[in-house]
């Protein structure tokens, strides 16, 4: 399946923002936010060197965060990416990763050093654990940015 062009802006695609629309022009007043939001997505989901957190695992994590956050459009996007990468691996490590992802997404105040040790025991390096956490944190950001932009688009369409 062909990949979308790297220059596409994912948030505008997900929300359905037309080029040249009022919302597109509003976002253009904040070019660093637009650029580094897309840039964060690209380096977290499709890094040139994924290290010890595979491209499949990265898509799996992002899909789960979007789903737990209740965002249909981003859930579809990340599930499609996961399918393109061969689907979930269904191994024991996947369960360890998903338990961690669910905690960081919905119960972040309950995190403990022992949870980091469990990821270490599953073979993850410091870099892999930081990348995993960055993906959860990024999609949590992206969901809320997408929701707010969609409200502005909807409010202006009346």
């Amino acid at each position: 399946m062909p990949k979308p062009p790297e220059s596409a802006d994912l948030l505008e695609t997900i929300i359905g923002v037309a080029p040249g629309s009022a919302l597109s022009q509003l976002r253009a007043q904040r070019p660093d936010i637009v650029g580094h939001t897309q840039g964060s997505h690209d380096v977290l989901l499709s890094p040139a060197d994924p290290g010890g957190l595979s491209l499949t695992e990265r898509a799996l994590v992002a899909a789960r965060v979007a789903e737990l956050s209740g965002h249909a459009g981003l859930t579809r996007h990340y599930r499609r990416l996961l399918a393109e990468r061969g689907g979930p691996p269904h191994d024991q490590r996947q369960d360890t990763i998903l338990r961690h992802v669910e905690r960081v997404t919905t119960a972040l105040g309950t995190a403990l050093p022992a949870h980091i040790e469990a990821l270490r025991a599953a073979g993850m390096s410091a870099r892999d654990i930081v990348a995993l956490t960055q993906i959860v944190a990024f999609v949590s950001y992206q969901v809320r940015a997408a929701v707010g932009l969609a409200l502005l688009a909807e409010g202006n369409a009346v």
Binding site: R30, A126, V143, V147
Partner: protein, 191 residues
């Protein structure tokens, strides 16, 4: 939520993973750290373990919090304090509550939020900002266009609402990194 732990004093942060040291940092890690708010903090040195994501996140954070025009800086700081209280991030709330007080000289607003929670009585513009920040943090999927009405009623334009949304979203991000890769270290006698 243990509101007594929130403070206007400076809080330290202890990582649960080994941070990159400035002596051992690669040129790319050093560049990403130099573009972060504090190159030598344990937090940013921990994030430098995955250098490419830090190199994107630091300029994103800077743009969300400090880009000129639009929502006033103090109001962005207030929104991030509200998100951090709801998520329980003692470190983030301390840093950004102190920035809010530096800008506004109104520590009583922070004390009311800390002691009485985010539903404490506030003047209408701050009430609208706090309510939007709280709902977008807790229930992003339940937001509707009606949630913009209180912001419009106090005179906020699209750019201000856009900036508020991004400040709230950025702290959904910051709190998750800060609270799950390490822990706050409170000042002596304040634990």
């Amino acid at each position: 939520m243990n509101t007594r732990r929130f403070t206007l004093e400076a809080v330290d942060w202890a990582p649960w993973l080994p941070p990159v040291t400035l002596e051992s940092a690669t040129p790319a890690q050093r560049a990403a750290l130099d573009n972060s708010p504090q190159a030598n903090s344990a937090y940013f040195r921990t994030l430098a373990n995955d250098v490419d994501s830090l190199a994107e996140r630091s300029p994103l954070f800077h743009a969300v919090m400090y880009v000129p025009r639009g929502l006033k800086r103090a109001e962005r700081e207030l929104a991030t304090v509200v998100v951090s209280i709801i998520n329980g991030c003692v470190y983030c709330s301390s840093v950004h509550a102190r920035r809010f007080v530096e800008l506004t000289k109104q520590p009583e607003i922070i004390r009311a939020l800390y002691e009485q929670g985010v539903d404490t009585p506030l003047e209408p513009r701050l009430r609208a900002i706090v309510d939007y920040a709280a709902k977008l943090t807790r229930e992003p999927a339940a937001m509707t266009v009606a949630d913009l009405a209180p912001l419009r009623a106090v005179g906020m334009d699209d750019l201000e609402i856009h900036d508020l949304t991004n400040a709230v979203a950025m702290f959904a991000n910051a709190n998750r990194l800060m609270q799950t890769l390490g822990e706050p270290v409170l000042p002596e006698g304040d634990a």
